[in-house]
Subunit: 289 residues, 2 copies
């Protein structure tokens, strides 16, 4: 059930973003935005759509916030791939934006995708209630900015130049920013849209985000470059501390499984309705890509 | 009067941004945000504060939107200065962010300053009315993004690699995005905060923005590098079409003066209360920096 819904969300987000960008024209920076926002698993959008469904928010409404978070995610990937950051030539098996166009275009594509995220959240279609829209913008800005995702990325870069590898506490803080903040935002978005209590979805999102990062570290050791569409073994090569290097492969997998159990347990109040979100959590640590 | 008010706004914005960033800590990316957002003429913030005053919005409230637009402006400068963009070593006479830190930090500083702009606009202190906050976010996202500032910057880069210089129409479109959208946003912000009609301030902002860019082109020919805190003669050296190269120096100055007259005339409904905004328009083409 989860795989079909995920695929459905992915198709819907792709279509929605294409439609939103129709009036934007065809300058290279616009084509770059389309290119960068066209693919991916759409896990964050899926979390938005499922959380919205649990709270009685329609798909037609939730698609706006779901597309917004995918714009934000796409921007972060375009900038992370830049030569001065992670210097990646491939993303999802395709040339990265700075490879297909150039670095200046990649910087601008990321910049404009961040703006587009906030445009989508502030549009009336996202919620008829302006208080909800302002709350979505505020929480997203915090999740994305200097106390969230950007801080995580900055800590990641600092770690590469540090004299000693990071400790488990430091890696956990890094992850909470770099991937966790946006995943938790996505998980709680449906409750925000409905003006409902976010406690359960926040606990789910926090555990899921950490499990996701541990699984990513495991994939960098055990994964297949072709299936992943990106290089593997990069962390070890770079001498980076990861959950795997700090805990060991077996203990890292055990920790990820515990986190998935925590995530699933957090949803008990939603009963069987939340089964698809539980499947998503199990998928995150079982995935091969 | 204008100079004192501008200086007052500059001091107040600097203080406000320092306060806002106190809880952010002291990672290099955060220090870079403080550094990049610390200086400048603060013309955009001034436009916000004056427009707000004309519409009875308190300084304590307007400072939030004024600081937000300065964050957005600062982000655009940090990214524009990157080696892959304009490749500038100096900004306001100081090393640019990628020179003082490194390129990765500069990318992240810009990214986080954009997020911070939207955070400030969405905070309750910016306006007690959530509809106003959502409107500020939406209009800012459009002014900043792929149909506004980023598009202008992309057109500017494309022009450097084009086979022929731009025409006057093309330069005007480029300018409307690159500097015009944010200046018009700033000029109309006070009316937005008050939920008032924006027609007059929009006409003022549109004319002011274009006059500002023409004056910039004139300064690149006639200006003094030391007073400006940046290199001059870059446009001619790069063979770039500018308002000066297309119109000639004399006609460019005449056009700028006409635009200032238009801008001042647009404010007639505000009477003497708007004198400071009129002075600002005259300053924009008389400035030496």
């Amino acid at each position: 059930m989860f795989q079909e819904r995920l695929a459905g969300v992915a198709a819907r987000v792709a279509m929605h973003l294409r439609e939103v960008m129709v009036p934007f024209g065809s300058e290279p920076v616009i084509e770059g935005m389309r290119y960068a926002s066209a693919g991916g698993k759409r896990l964050r959008a899926f979390l938005v759509m499922e959380g919205a469904r649990l709270h009685g928010v329609s798909d037609d409404q939730a698609i706006w916030a779901a597309s917004a978070v995918e714009c934000l995610h796409a921007y972060s990937l375009v900038h992370d791939d830049l030569p001065c950051m992670d210097d990646d030539d491939l993303r999802r098996g395709q040339p990265t934006v700075h490879k297909k166009w150039d670095e200046a275009t990649a910087v601008l594509v990321g910049d404009a995708l961040q703006s587009l995220c906030f445009e989508l959240l502030a549009r009336e279609e996202c919620s008829p209630d302006p208080q909800v829209r302002a709350d979505l913008v505020l929480s997203m800005a915090r999740a994305a900015g200097a106390q969230g995702m950007v801080l995580g990325q900055a800590l990641d870069i600092a770690a590469e130049n540090a004299a000693r590898p990071l400790t488990l506490d430091e890696i956990t803080r890094l992850q909470a920013g770099k991937t966790g903040a946006l995943i938790t935002w996505s998980a709680t978005c449906g409750a925000r849209l409905a003006g409902a209590d976010m406690t359960a979805l926040r606990a789910y999102g926090d555990a899921l985000g950490l499990a996701f990062q541990i699984a990513d570290d495991v994939l960098d050791v055990e994964g297949d470059a072709e299936a992943l569409g990106k290089a593997v073994g990069k962390d070890e090569e770079a001498g980076k501390a990861t959950f795997v290097s700090l805990l060991g492969l077996g203990a890292a997998k055990t920790r990820a499984q515990e986190l998935v159990d925590t995530a699933c347990g957090a949803l008990s109040g939603y009963g069987a309705e939340a089964e698809c979100l539980r499947e998503a959590a199990r998928f995150v640590i079982a995935r091969k890509m």
